[in-house]
Amino acid sequence: MRTVFYLLQKEFVQIFRNRAMLPILFAMPVIQLLVLSYAATFEVRDTPMSVIDQDRSLTSRQLVDRLVASGYFTLVDQPATPEQADAALRRGEVKLIVHVPPRFERDLLETGAAPVRLVLDALDGATAGVVQAYATQVLARVSRDVQARTATAAARPAPRIEVRPAFWYNPDLNYETYMVPGILVVLVTMIATFLSAMNVVREKEIGTIEQLNVTPIRKGPFLIGKLLPFWLIALVELGVGLAIARWYFHVPMLGNLALVFGLAGLYLLAMLGLGLWISTMADTQQQAMFIAWFVLVIFILMSGLFTPIESMPAWAQRLTLLNPMAHFITIMRRVLLKGAGLDAVRVQTAALLLFGTVLLTLAVRQYRKVTA
């Protein structure tokens, strides 16, 4: 135990003496959390739009006003012909063309239906989908109003189904609420994995491992001394990140924070095991860095942070079961935002336990004090 204490002391002295490392450890995650949480939003605002209004009626003007008033669209052009509008779309000046044909209002009032043409720049498919959804919503509202006006004239309103969505756990559909816990996971993961991946290999590179290996230090205390500092640092960063999430982003924290930290500790063991495993296999810090980076990119992209796991193809969904980060993001969102207890995340917890055991075992077995 005394040996572990001296090893810890040495690691902490080295970490806090490294002037380049300190800002990386503590300032960068905070900056990233602030920047990414704002940047990584799916909201689309101020889409440049051109409108060809060939009807020029009360209803068509109302329709354009509603689109602009929604805040999602900015009217940049009102060309006379569809050809002019198409050219502007090709030049990238507008992303959406709304074409209201002649006789729009009359058809609507007489037959109860009238076409409006929406042309979208779908180069960025995700954005186009969102823009289309917004535009459809606005158009639906206009059409309801028109129906309401005609209904007063008619004997009784036409029967229709009205959908009133209720958004649970995030009633305002606030993107920060959804993204911040996930981004926090990514940052904590990066710190833990990179630091542990670089550490043992660094001692290999500078040759100190030779000097250490001829000492009677046991493998166990040595590896605990290597991993415990990063485990603690990552948990402290999680705490700082949660504080920012709570008081700056006003992310609701319904769950038990002790549970969050407990599961985070478990998750970090798995990621530290991964980093250590990489470190024992690599010969240089450069190799370790590339391997760690490669693995983390896959983990991040397949974690459900940016693209929902449910929308991935079946084989990819099965692969995410092997991604500890995906499990932990699920845990964070469920526990923090929904107030779930351990029972609701027991599958994910079991998975983390399994990953932690496997990765740490692999790492410990891989590390040898004697070369064959």
């Binding site: 001296y6 080295q14 490294n18 000097q211 001829v214 009677p216 004090k369 004697v370």
Partner: protein, 312 residues
């Protein structure tokens, strides 16, 4: 039997036989030198003796403990100074020393008297980071760290490589003092002139031992007449001598050329006359006693001797 016993130790890396059936014995309290050029297998041999590398064949005991079976117990009795500076450059002098003392389960105070003669020289800089020390000071710190747990055997891999001549002499003085204190020391070096500071040396080349004995006995066993040739046009004279019909070997040694003849005896006057005839009348030729380097060159050129049991 304490000391070191090496029996037919082998180690290969792929097709390269780095250490080939090496056997020798080091008595307790002896200062033993492993002499050989780069790539001779000295480092591999030492790494097996300090339990960092598992041998392919043969066996070795250090201080009575087997390097494979008893490696864990052996590590507490060994001090090892690798060829490359292997301390923490971002820790200070005293932090490095305290760290290595603590991982051996001891304290700086407990081992201080042993390292004091060396450590006192760097103690004024004890708050300086190891990375900011000069080469000689780094070496003294490394030696202090290797000795802080009072090992019974000290192994040093090329401790004087890249160190200036004055520091080298100082370092050998330190080793002599440690030996006087009863420490068994094995030190490897590519510098033939350092062999004289050892009690006994093993000459190593291509993974094999070319001979093990005291430096004096090795030199005395040199059975061929040896001539030192000095001339202004050193390189031309070297070429000319190699063309001499009876020449056995000609090497440049410092400012002189060392010449051995293929015949049992040679008259310096004959060589002088030959060189004068080739247009080098200024050449001086005189018989000299063989040094370790001459012994090394002679044994290297000769067919490898069959492995013999080492003395004692």
């Amino acid at each position: 039997m304490a000391g070191i016993l090496v029996h037919d130790l082998c180690k290969s890396f792929g097709a390269v036989q780095a250490v080939d059936r090496v056997r020798f014995r080091v008595a307790p309290g002896e200062l033993f030198g492993l002499i050989g050029p780069d790539g001779a297998g000295k480092t591999t041999l030492l790494r097996m003796l300090v339990t960092l590398l598992t041998p392919d064949g043969g066996s070795a005991t250090v201080d009575g403990l087997d390097v494979v079976r008893d490696y864990r117990a052996l590590r507490t009795r060994l001090g090892y100074m690798p060829g490359r500076f292997s301390l923490y450059q971002d820790l200070t002098v005293e932090e490095n020393l305290a760290f290595f003392a603590s991982v051996f389960g001891t304290t700086v105070e407990a081992g201080y008297d042993l390292i004091a003669p060396i450590y006192r020289q760097i103690e004024p800089f004890k708050t300086r980071r190891a990375g900011a020390l000069s080469g000689g000071m780094k070496q003294k710190l490394a030696l202090s760290c290797a000795l802080i747990h009072r090992p019974r055997v000290l192994m040093l891999d090329e401790p004087t490589t890249g160190v200036d001549a004055v520091s080298r002499r100082e370092f050998w003085d330190v080793l002599a003092r440690l030996k006087a204190g009863g420490l068994t020391i094995v030190v490897s070096t590519p510098y033939m002139d350092e062999a004289r500071r050892c009690d006994r040396v093993a000459l190593m080349q291509g993974g094999r031992l070319l001979g093990v004995d005291t430096p004096a006995a090795l030199e005395a066993a040199y059975d061929r007449p040896l001539l030192a040739v000095r001339a202004a046009a050193r390189y031309d004279v070297l070429q000319a001598l190699r063309q001499f019909p009876h020449a056995r070997s000609v090497y440049a040694f410092g400012e002189a050329l060392h010449y051995t003849d293929a015949r049992p005896s040679v008259d310096p006057a004959e060589i002088r006359a030959y060189l004068a005839g080739r247009g080098y009348p200024d050449a001086t030729v005189e018989p000299i006693r063989a040094g370790i380097e001459d012994v090394f060159m002679a044994r290297m050129a000769a067919p490898p001797p069959p492995p013999t049991a080492s003395p004692t």
